[in-house]
Symmetry: C2
Subunit: 215 residues, 2 copies
């Protein structure tokens, strides 16, 4: 059965909410409460989870630890994924320093840049390699994920090289509608698009009371 | 008429594709071609645009410049939006240095940090202000958008303060399911969630030929 991509995209939100509940010492949670935490209906949660089998008992809610383990297993979060960062400018530096990846099983194991001043530097326990060595390095030491933090003009080229090296998941920070072949997965981080769609609401909806009171 | 949020989220993609076509000197584009560029059906594009009136003539395609102007106007991209960055760590530095905001009309006019070593520093033509002065500063010099780049533990607090100061659009980089009241718009930038949903596909789908050939 083909599971809708929007369902897959919601599962990480479930695991995050369940992790928080677990940290708070909770054993059981209802689909009602989980729905409130996540801003979706309880029916949606039950439907999403039904794609993967039976969880919880009617009227008893979900066992937090068990559901979390199952979701980790379903999402492949019960293992380590190897990642390479391509582009170590300001953005690449922030990505290398980001502490949110490691605890979730995503480990940056290689970093590449084209700037001769950057190449050879040690940053966050990695030695920055030359962008020219990208293909050679990844063919020898494969990674699961490529994080693209290069300028827009060369991003598609970098993505093509990653695909050629067998990388099947790409997280792109470049503001281009990048292309990948079937069987390769691409997610884009696009703050400008997010700002642009919020601008629509700023422009077209009434001001909040706080803002109105101020003016 | 209430326009579905997913439609609003697609409009920035349309403007980006149209900008590229315009740079290439194109005058007219069909919904077919625009659809191919964006990976959506031509019917979807016609339906999305129909929410905002009539564009293009049957069989003649869209006038690139005119549609772009209309979309800029609809999205509120024909004006400047003032933004404040809260948190000037590695991530905040990358945000301050990002060159993609300005050309789209999004201008960072204030930056705040709690670190005494950071406060008072000049970065990208801004003087970093004390986080303690956030409320005072924004009540005097309002901004349209708050960019939250602080650690997860204090992000909700910062968001609450922004809302109190009349900020109605928040771009949050903090890995928490932040809450905002009705009338305030929040978009989250969440690389870990994107990685987690790709991990599902890496784990559950066959390897590409490139990867298979390698192993």
């Amino acid at each position: 059965m083909e599971i809708p991509p929007v369902v897959i995209d919601r599962l990480p939100l479930y695991t995050r909410a369940l992790s928080t509940l677990e940290e708070e010492g909770r054993d059981v949670v209802s689909s009602q409460e989980l729905g409130t935490l996540l801003g979706v209906t309880p029916a949606q949660i039950r439907k999403d989870l039904s794609y993967f089998g039976r969880f919880g008992k009617q009227g008893r809610g979900y066992n937090v630890r068990k559901l979390l383990d199952e979701l980790h297993h379903i999402l492949g979060l019960d293992r380590q994924w190897r990642m390479a960062v391509i582009g170590v400018g300001k953005l690449g530096l922030a990505i290398l320093g980001y502490e949110g990846f490691g605890p979730q099983g995503f480990r940056i194991v290689e970093a590449f840049d084209a700037d001769p001043k950057r190449i050879g530097q040690r940053i966050e326990n990695l030695t920055i390699r030359a962008a020219n060595d990208l293909e050679k390095t990844l063919l020898k030491n494969p990674v699961d994920v490529g994080i693209v933090a290069v300028p827009a003009g060369i991003a598609q080229n970098v993505i093509d090289t990653l695909v050629k090296c067998g990388v099947r998941a790409i997280l792109s920070y470049a503001p281009i509608p990048a292309r990948v072949p079937p069987g390769v997965y691409l997610k884009r981080i696009e703050p400008v698009l997010a700002l642009q769609s919020m601008a629509y609401y700023l422009k077209n909806s009434p001001r909040s009371t706080a803002a109105a009171a101020r003016s």
